[in-house]
Amino acid sequence: MADYITTIGLEVHAQVLTASKMFDACPAGYANTAPNSCTSVVSLGLPGSLPVTNQRAIELAAMTGLSLNCTINPFSIFARKNYTYPDLPKGYQITQYDQPLCRNGWIEIHTGAGETRRIRIERLHIEEDTGRNLHLEDGTTLIDYNRAGVPLMEIVSEPDITTPEDARLYFEKIHQILTWIGVNTGNMAEGALRCDANVSIRPVGQERYGTKVEVKNMNSFRSVERALVYEIQRQVGVLESGGTVHQETRGWDENREVTVGQRSKEFAHDYRYFPEPDIPPLRLSESWIAARQEELPELPDGRRTRFEADYGLSTQDAGLLTIDRSVADYYERAVAAASEVGGSAKEVANWVAGELFRLLKEHGESYLVLETRMPPRHIAAVLDLLAKGTITRTVAKQVFEESYASGNDPAQIVASKGLSQISDEEALVALAHEVIASNPKPVEQYRQGKASALQFLVGQMMKATRGQANPQVARAVLEAALEKNEEGR
């Protein structure tokens, strides 16, 4: 089999989080509403209705462009994309064509192998979302126009992506940035963020790109990667068997894990784009663009680098703690709370990125529960109890978990459950003799010089005290008891 070079470009469609629709005052939040209960004369395309641009949508789209390192065009226009398909009742979509809002951006993805790759972004433009079709068995179609006219950004990458994994990482990064700056909910199940791919392969040594196939219907990070893995294999199979890849649109079938050919792709000029006569051009001043830049928060990559520099975190931990803005904010509040009791940022990172993330995953809960269930001061409290020697590390994990589950204060949990560390030798002597009496074999092995046997016996002490014994004290008491026991034989 010949070797092939894969070329992937992604088109991400992201709804813009505004209160009203793109071109009129109809509510944009259509989730949980009955079909066609969120429409207006504009979104239904009724004669005589006039679209007027939503200023906030333009502001948020420009902020998105800036966060993707794009240039904001000081002059852009809307265009009509004509097509006869009833997901938009006007017979055309208002979009942008040759003069989009943003151009020439890039983002960086961080691969599992620790490499950083830059993926260029060709453009970001604004348009209106379409209605939803429900195809019936009898061949007719039902249409719900609630989604029609919701502000939508199309973010088009350059064909810089060469593997399905990188495609997933790129999509994840877009998701991270958009939700971070608050322009999109990131909810893929509800269709707020969607991804299409253009993918082609060509034999190594061939300059010209292969025929590209558009893959749609990939509604999760996982399906982006899997659909592309499948599609690349399919194209290789076609070429290896002497066939040719046809330019077409294929849909990812999640259940069967295959891509399936869809309607033949219309040629671009069939859309007969022309400048939208109903909407005047957008002229954005330098100061307007500067104001959008001002409005942006510190972005995930910047924050990650700062976490590494300021808190001495590993790249991996800094990455985990900036996965979401709410997590990064939470972490920094926990760092502030911990510093008041002498806890370090590194320790906080270990608890949050380790224990807390494990618990969230186990319980299938989102970051949203952090603030109420494990407020930052509780992280600080656990560190404080540990530093003061009130509890052992084993108990600390238990307290942490109970605090997470109940939302109760760690110090209270320790007090009410009597989990304080036992450092009093007297309290452990009787237990040591019990452990020796009930484990004759390890005791014998210890006497024969097997060091691990002592470790086992200390473990029994810890187990009997449910982790509360101070391990050093337990060890010392046990050694003393063993000596005494030996003498007594």
Partner: protein, 99 residues
């Protein structure tokens, strides 16, 4: 400029129009003559003239992101030729070519 029957057919398909052979020929002659008429614009020198994107002479007309109540559901569907389950109902659209 003389259009071919195939070109006229293509444009009719895009507009979802079904033309009889006689209509097609009629349209071919008329559209060709309209294009000839418009083509006289090609003779004008447009050097240094910026493209006209819009006729209103306005720019950057925007509204603030405020919500007004949507259309009552009954009104939204008032003109629908066919409906079911609160939705507009249309004939088969899946196959673009089946018109």
């Amino acid at each position: 400029m003389t259009l071919t029957p195939a070109e006229v057919e293509h444009v009719a398909q895009l507009a979802r129009l079904k033309l009889s052979p006689e209509e097609l020929e009629q349209m071919r002659v008329q559209l060709s003559s309209i294009l000839d008429y418009i083509a006289s614009l090609q003779e004008v020198s447009i050097e240094g003239v910026p493209p006209t994107e819009q006729m209103s002479n306005l720019s950057t007309v925007m509204r603030s992101d405020e919500v007004l109540p949507p259309l009552p559901h009954r009104e939204a569907l008032a003109n629908a030729p066919d409906q079911r389950d609160g939705m507009f109902r249309v004939r088969a659209i899946f196959d673009d070519q089946a018109e």
